[in-house]
Amino acid sequence: MRINGVLIDNTFAEAFPMKATRLIITAITPKWAYRAANSLTGFASSVIGCGCEADIERELPPEETPDGRPGIAVIIFAMSRKQLIEQVSKRVGQSVMTTPTSACFAGSHSDDQIPLGKTLRYFGDGFQISKKVNGVRYWRIPVMHGEFLCQDTTGIVPAIGGGNFMVMAKTSRLGLAACECAIKAIRAVHGAVTTFPGGIVGSGSKVGSKYKFMQASTNEIFCPTLKGQVKSMLTEDIGSVLEIVIDGLNEAAIREAMRAGVKAVCKFGPRKGIYRIGAGNYGGKLGRYHFHLRDIMK
């Protein structure tokens, strides 16, 4: 299969079940909402070393936020409920509550609730105020900028992590140009995020290593400098491989995000240095979800 001259490999992305929650961060201006969101989603590229994966989903206009202020929706993914509870509490406490004028609300609704303000309220040292509005409990924590307003709990939902595709290009510069367009296209898909810096992975990994203490190590079959040295997946003309990893709230969101991303990349074509699209998998033995590139791009 070729799209605009770009070869689509007959392969699939292998993804895993995760737990996720969406949070809505509001502040006095979009700038300050972004500052809180950027801080919360910082160092959250991969569960391998960060404890969670998180990214900004989209900007919310005042009409869509609970308190009528500009907001940002972020989605946080973790491998377990317990891990998510820990990460949400730490990140909202250290990144959102510390941002001047910020407030934090639940953005996903389910019967399975985890603490949000419920644990952060103790920062109020007895001066915190509980308020129930429309049946939803909020905490007003007095802080130096005024009050930090935070919903009591947030809903967690089953999610999927590890949807991906690889962009095989002539050079990193040409690959990045195409990938940046792909990230823009993926941003338009609700319920899907790309948690790596700028949404693009420069050092995709495989599971395991020759070193026992390493959980993951470089994916040598996609490393251009190791062509000839290992059983490489790359042809002579490919000088750079970039991976776009997508986490989503459901299969449809990941499928739509992959489709939008691959389509955007393929627009560049071989003339602009984009030769092939591949995907990362482990032979289908580890992940429950398989996203076949050619099915998605039909």
Partner: protein, 279 residues
């Protein structure tokens, strides 16, 4: 199905306990069964059919027409459905209501929503004393739900209130929010004396500055209370009538108290409340 309609034939000679007639209690009953329900009328018991003309079938929306103040305990412990009252309602409207909605086009008596747990009560006219307050012998008043009074309210609104929201667009009497434990009262009109006496927790939002600084309260000055943005926006989603609050800003004078009882309650006097424009 057309809503179940009960039209009062004549003004009864004594007060009628309307507690058996709620949408959830009438659900599944035929017109004949409803007609045979006995209501306490003073010291007597009278069939519904002797007092009301019955029309319609759908009890989930109960309409009471030509209602008078003699009809008390309308919507008692109601759990779901909707009650519309054309006319006036007597005392204890929506007492201990747990869910559903009651709308009164006229006035209502005392103890509106007393000890209520949930649901919505809207009174287009005035209400008597002790709206949302604790019933005699009880330590805790309203615990949840919403009472909206478009007109004026009497004394002791929200006395011993423990949760939920009361909104009065008109004036309120004395002892507003006294001994309040939690919850929110929004009083947009003029208020009587002795506001917040014995208030432990909870929030009283005032559209107008009180005539005198409430005893036992200390001012924190004018502040932007960001919580008010949330409150005002969310109230608009419960009741279209309350959408007017969306135009209000969060600027308010915050007073904490009642400090004489170690209270951590608050009075927020809105600085940009559209005074006189809410009714």
């Amino acid at each position: 199905m057309t809503p179940l309609s009960l039209t009062l034939r004549r003004n009864p000679f004594a007060r009628i306990d309307m507690s058996p007639l709620t949408p959830d209690r009438l659900a599944g009953l035929g017109r004949d069964a409803i007609a045979r329900i006995m209501l306490a009328c003073g010291r007597q018991r009278i069939r519904v059919s002797e007092l009301f003309d019955i029309a319609g079938r759908d009890a989930s929306l109960l309409r009471i027409r030509r209602a008078t103040v003699q009809l008390f305990r309308v919507g008692f412990q109601m759990q779901s459905g909707s009650v519309e009252i054309a006319g006036n309602a007597g005392d204890n409207l929506g007492e201990r209501i747990q869910g559903g909605e009651i709308r009164v086009r006229g006035d209502a008596g005392e103890w509106v929503g007393a000890s209520m747990l949930g649901g919505n009560i809207t009174v287009q006219g005035n209400v008597g004393d002790r709206a949302g307050a604790a019933l005699p012998g009880q330590l805790i008043g309203m615990k949840g739900g919403l009472i909206l009074v478009v007109g004026n309210a009497g004394d002791r609104v929200g006395e011993r209130m423990r949760g939920g929201t009361i909104v009065t667009l008109g004036d309120t009497g004395s002892y507003l929010a006294c001994r309040m434990r939690a919850g929110t009262i929004i009083a947009m009109g003029r208020t009587g004396p002795h506001i917040g006496i014995g208030m432990r927790r909870g929030t009283l939002v005032m559209g107008r500055k009180p005539a005198a600084m409430p005893t036992g309260f200390r001012s924190a000055g004018a502040l932007k209370m960001e919580f008010l943005r949330l409150l005002f926006k969310q109230l608009g989603t419960v009741q279209t009538r309350l959408a007017l609050f969306r135009s209000f800003g969060p600027e308010a004078i915050r007073m904490a108290g009642d400090l004489s009882v170690g209270g951590k309650g608050e009075i927020l006097v809105l600085l940009n409340g559209s005074q006189g424009q809410t009714k």
